[in-house]
Amino acid sequence: MEMSRVDTSQYLSFDGHETITSLWADRCARYGDRVAHREKELGIWQAYSWRDYYDCARKIGRALMALGVKKGEPVLILAEDRREWLYIDLASASIGAIPAGVYTTDSAAQLAYLANDSGARVLFVENDEQLDKYLEARDRMEGIQKVVVMEREGLASFSDPKVMFLDELYAMGETEETREPGLFEEAIKAVRPEDPRMLIYTSGTTGPPKGAMITHRNMIFQMRSGSECLEFLESDNLLCFLPLCHVLERIVSVEAPIANGCIVNFAESPETVFDNLQEVSPDSFSGVPRIWEKIYSRVMILRSEAGPIGARAFDWALAVGHRYAQAENPGAGLRLAHAVADFTVLANLRRMLGLANARRVTSGAAPISPDLIHWFGALGVPLIEGYGMTETAGIATVNTVEDNRIGTVGTAIPGVEMRIDETGELLIGGPCVFGGYWNKPEKTAETMTEDGWLRTGDVGRIGNDGALTITGRLKDIIITAGGKNITPAEIESKLKFSPYVSDAVVIGDRRKYLTCLIMIDQENVEKFAQDRQIPFSDFASLTRAPEVRDLIGGVVAEANRQFAQVEQIKDFRLIDILLTAEDEELTPTMKLKRNFVNQRHAALIDEMY
């Protein structure tokens, strides 16, 4: 039977609102002085109300209008997660402009590209460091008329006709509002559901980044369907730490808290996430696999340092937790054992990690190892995996805590339709499908089938129970010289389960056999070397140590055992430079980009063949 895409003209609303901005204005009025955001200032958590949220956004919005920002015009935001990011986000969306985030790790050249591609005229930057990116490449982004800097530190004597500060912008907005009140509210009313709510630049593993337009309708749909499977409560505390430029964090830290009235706590910096997590102990938490892998390896290191008794107690408690999580109807003995294990070990561990209050934690944006989900389950942390992409406006499928089919990415959220085409590619339809790429109709056309389905580029299968399993990326499929089709993602995720492997890229397209480039986890491998008195000086010498190679060799051999002969890795190399988020090879979420890795480390790869 031929299915067609769900009719997009169908009326969609959340709590009577068809746009995120009108929903937001309603919530701000309703909650008033209640806490909306918390942020650390000089080390102390400070609270900011929904009234602050609205008032600050209105000032920014009015000032943007005075600066001549028009409806449908992108506004760029280059900052770490902070409340002003959200103020600017909602201010822009309220006047019909399109907020677009820029990663703080992007270079000046990348910023210039985004400025030109979006055609934005106003750019918000966090501080002098980010401002320098603009100043460095300003002659390559002449479209930018105004740069607004949030922090004044280090810029006391700086002046430039095109640059102003956020407090000046607030003052300007306030004057506008006194002069002619009500324009902001009128602008909110003029926003249509089909208008773009935000522009999300995809990370661009192939070719330059593309701006995906997410409409208000997309997001209202996410709120409606999401609320049926992902519960958010008004009393919830959340932690915002992933880049807000990413659609997942936008849903979790901006849209969902607006819809459900939760409190968003901002992490101080990407480096302090684990401390902040402990302080906030959020009620639900969304992370990328790397976060969960890090937590896992932190716990395993704690275990190895706990001494023989501690380690035995930990192993026992985890084994009990595992059996308890697996059991349909745990018997009295198991229930008792679990109560003891939980009281003595597991509950303390959860409290220490900051996951004690978490009703639900989710993982998305990249595949996560099922073993890891089981492991968290044994710990008593309900980790569920979901699936989605920028072009599906975030979530398309998700597991639930009650029905967690580990190994799958869950069933489609209500209203989303899926099918697998003859090449094995997953197609998605429904009100979650995005509004197209900004100024790139030919790219949009490539992503859509003729009858309006979204080509995800992912290969997957749908089980009889409707649960989706993703096996890899269509373009990542390796066809060996022997003609065998292999999806590298499965092998890679097995490798990454080792605390010593940070990321891995399997190679072998049109080659005789499979090989692998491995990025080791610096902290854990250094600890391994130090514990065994393996001499090393810097990172490169660490990767050259024969014992470290043997260690990783063991990891590879272990992973190999779970795969058929042709899918086994015959050789591997360690990447001997410590990559950071600024490097081209890594996405901002610290995943290796296959194409860049293949180019940059071609010499290492050739060595293996």
Partner: protein, 253 residues
């Protein structure tokens, strides 16, 4: 030939881990420099090698012998002299007495070495009967180096020889250090805050941060690194503004 090699040294001050696994090699005739910010563990490394502190873990191999955990006097007898941070000369003894104390552990005659020290530091000869406390900072540093030389060490460890000295005097001291190395073949391990002069004098260097080596290599390689240039040599980035407050992230490559 490798004179000194440490492997995975871990040293603690009570519960605080100051060295987190340090492995370095010093070859015969080389000047090796250790760079690092305050509190990185440079002096701790020196003290651990000299036997003033005992490592919790790891080995120190000196000319084929294990010296980790030996008492300082035994380490000196083995042929390692430490020129400590802040000179530490004996102020009430004369200069010559100070120098002779440097040769205390030796059984052979040290008369030649005294002449050698006076040859490199003529000012010390001039004032050899005076109490060392009357010397200026630079002269005290010369005395401390001279005292170290008197032990006729196989390895000389210099802990911040430029401390408290004027730039001109620093240059003079480093000139002598380079000459001692070139003419007398003295192998040296040099800890220095002044990265400019240390990198100009040494052959090889290690960068120590938070008790770990983050970078190693020839001084040419270190000098070329962006991180060294920005964080140790104080190069200011070429920005459009005249000042730059933020620091780039270190990558150590």
């Amino acid at each position: 030939m490798t004179v000194l090699s440490t492997r995975n040294l871990e040293t603690f001050y009570g519960a605080i881990m100051a060295l987190r696994g340090v492995s370095i090699d010093v070859d015969q005739g080389e000047i090796v420099t250790i760079l690092g910010a305050n509190g990185a563990g440079k002096t701790t490394l020196m003290k651990t090698i000299a036997g003033l502190m005992d490592p919790e873990k790891g080995t120190i191999d000196f000319m084929g012998d294990q010296i980790a955990g030996l008492d300082p006097d035994r380490v000196v007898q083995k042929g390692i002299a430490l020129v400590p941070e802040g000179r530490e000369v004996f102020p009430y003894l004369t200069i010559e007495e100070n120098l002779r104390l440097g040769a205390y552990t030796r059984r052979d005659s040290s008369a030649d070495d005294l002449d050698l020290v006076y040859e490199y530091f003529p000012i010390l000869k001039e004032r050899r009967r005076q109490a060392a406390g009357f010397l200026s900072g630079g002269q005290q540093q010369m005395l401390a180096i001279g005292r170290g030389l008197m032990a006729r060490p196989r390895l000389m460890m210099l802990d911040e020889p430029s401390l408290g000295l004027s730039p001109l005097l620093t240059q003079e001291i480093f000139g002598i250090i380079a000459r001692l190395n070139a003419e007398q073949g003295v192998t040296m391990l040099l800890v220095e805050q002044n990265a400019h002069i240390a990198l100009a004098t040494a052959h090889k260097g290690y960068v120590l941060e938070m008790g770990r080596i983050v970078m190693a290599g020839s001084t040419e390689k270190l000098r070329a690194s962006d991180d060294i240039q920005e964080f140790y040599l104080g190069r200011t980035g070429e920005t459009q503004r005249d000042q730059k407050r933020w620091k780039r992230r270190k990558t150590w490559r």
